[in-house]
């Protein structure tokens, strides 16, 4: 299994402030890779660069052997790289079903010309619907299909956001603090689902996470960022022993 995502010497600064000094990292196919670091260490900025929100000032991002830096977010999504946000960005006043039905790529019904002619897209629509149903039952929110997303619990919201990526046929999903805004106890279950989904759909995850305990149990590899640089990397256990990591982490948090 090779690297599905390679970040090579990426730099990004806003008006003189270097959010990312120089970061290179690799994400192995089928792994759950953790990304930790104190606030302002450039984790989210890195995500935004990977997801195509920002153009890196230098360096390149390679996904599946293809350069994606400089592409627009929607193009990157269509290549199979999905992301979630720290404070989830779903479509609040739309139902769970609608939210999920939005995610499949290249729907026939989403072209202006085909949309008015039902029969052109209705079969496809049903196919997607059944997939959605299946997935929703897997993550145990099957009965919430007509609740608007705004009314979902924190954990459910995270799961919906994650599963959007899956329905979009993503190979790699960037999770930005999946346990933020989730009750402490259910944070674990979020990761259990992540694990389950990874096996089911042989996905890869890159996770920003603050809770070290979860990282130990669920991630295969961890990068520690500080001040926009990779401070250290390795298996969670090793990393957690690294003194400067502890220092940086305690200092930051």
């Amino acid at each position: 299994m090779g690297a599905i995502l390679e970040v090579k010497g990426v730099k990004k600064s806003f008006g003189g402030v270097e959010a990312i000094k120089d970061i290179s990292l690799e994400v192995q196919k089928g792994s759950v890779t953790g990304l930790i670091g104190p606030n302002g260490s450039g984790k989210t900025t890195l995500f935004n660069v990977i997801a195509g929100f920002y153009k890196p000032d230098a360096g390149q991002v390679v996904f599946d052997g293809q350069r994606i830096d400089g592409l627009n977010p929607n193009e990157i999504y269509n290549l199979g790289l999905a992301r979630t946000f720290q404070n989830p960005r779903l479509f609040p006043s739309m139902t769970t079903l609608e939210n999920l039905m939005l995610s499949p790529k290249g729907q026939k019904g989403e072209s202006l010309l085909k949309a008015p002619l039902k029969r052109l897209w209705v079969d496809e629509e049903l196919k997607h619907a059944s997939e959605v149903q299946e997935l929703m039952s897997k993550i145990e929110i099957g009965d919430l299909y007509k609740t608007t997303v705004a009314d979902l619990s924190g954990g459910d919201t995270k799961m919906v956001e994650t599963s959007k990526g899956i329905l979009g046929g993503a190979k790699l999903i960037l999770l930005d603090e999946p346990t933020a805004g989730v009750q402490y106890v259910s944070g674990r279950s979020v990761f259990e689902h992540v694990n389950m989904l990874r096996k089911e759909y042989n996905l890869t995850f890159l996770v920003i996470e603050h809770r070290i305990d979860l990282l130990f149990d669920f991630t295969d590899y961890v990068y520690v960022l500080d001040m926009g640089e990779v401070l250290s990397k390795g298996k969670p256990q090793e990393v957690s022993k690294n003194p400067e990591v502890i220092k940086a982490y305690m200092g930051g948090a």
Binding site: F14, F53, Y54, K55, P73
Partner: protein, 321 residues
Amino acid sequence: MEIPVELLNTIWYICVYSLMAIPLTLSYRISKVLNFAHGVYVTLGAYTAILMSAAFGVKLSPFLAVPAAFLVGASISVLTDMMVFSPLIRRESNPVTLMIASMGAWIFIKNAFYALVDILQKRWMTSLFYTSPNIDLPAQVAIAGVELNTRLLFVVSLSAISLFLLGYFLTKTRLGMALRAIADNLDLAQISGISRERVMLITWLVSGGLAALGGFALSLFTYVSPELGDQMILQVFACSVIGGLTSIPLTFVGAVIISSSENILIVFLYRYLGIELSFRPFLSFFALLSVILIRPPAGAGGGLPYRFHLRGLSIQKKSDS
């Protein structure tokens, strides 16, 4: 010596536009309301003096008219805020909703005022639809051998003083800093311990009052009608947008640009390119559009996908809604 009249007009308009546009910028920056009702404050400010002088039938002292105009504009603007904007803001409505609400308020107040003027006109048997206040100012005054228009001097000093006071208020006083803090982000303001509602109130009070002063200043220069606000609002918006609707100094620059384009540029176009004078309003819109295109206002957040690639603005929800 003779000062070219184009220049004088430009100065007039710099004063008037900055008095109208800067409060608009201020209110947008702090409340994120693209306020179309702003034009109404202008009209009311202009008419306060007119109605007063008509009612008492005397020459009105400018030092009475100015505070009166300010008070009227301020009170109406605060009223608008209390009845329309703050409930909506409390409900975290998006900017579009707020804009529409302001349009509603605008249409309502304007026509209510129209009705009032119509009734008064019938009562007093004098024409109020198109007039100018009867202000107690000598026409000309000679300074260092130069004949100067007193009203111009008055308006220049009026705008200079009020803008200076505004600047002082924003930069030096605690309240003013709280204002700016809120404009930038909320947390700071919470720290400074001043409630958001109060700051909003102050903002609307100031902006409404200043806009009214702008209206009054214009009514010294020319005859005004209840349509005044509508006729000016787009130019005023143009000034503010040039200022990115966030920066007060840039808004002043905008006022300078628009007034000189309306008073000087058009003249050059007419003389050397033979463009009809009646294209004058065209220029302000042209300026507006070109500025918007060349340099999208930060307040706009920029469209997709430019937002990220051009400006790298924050993509947190705050900036969008």
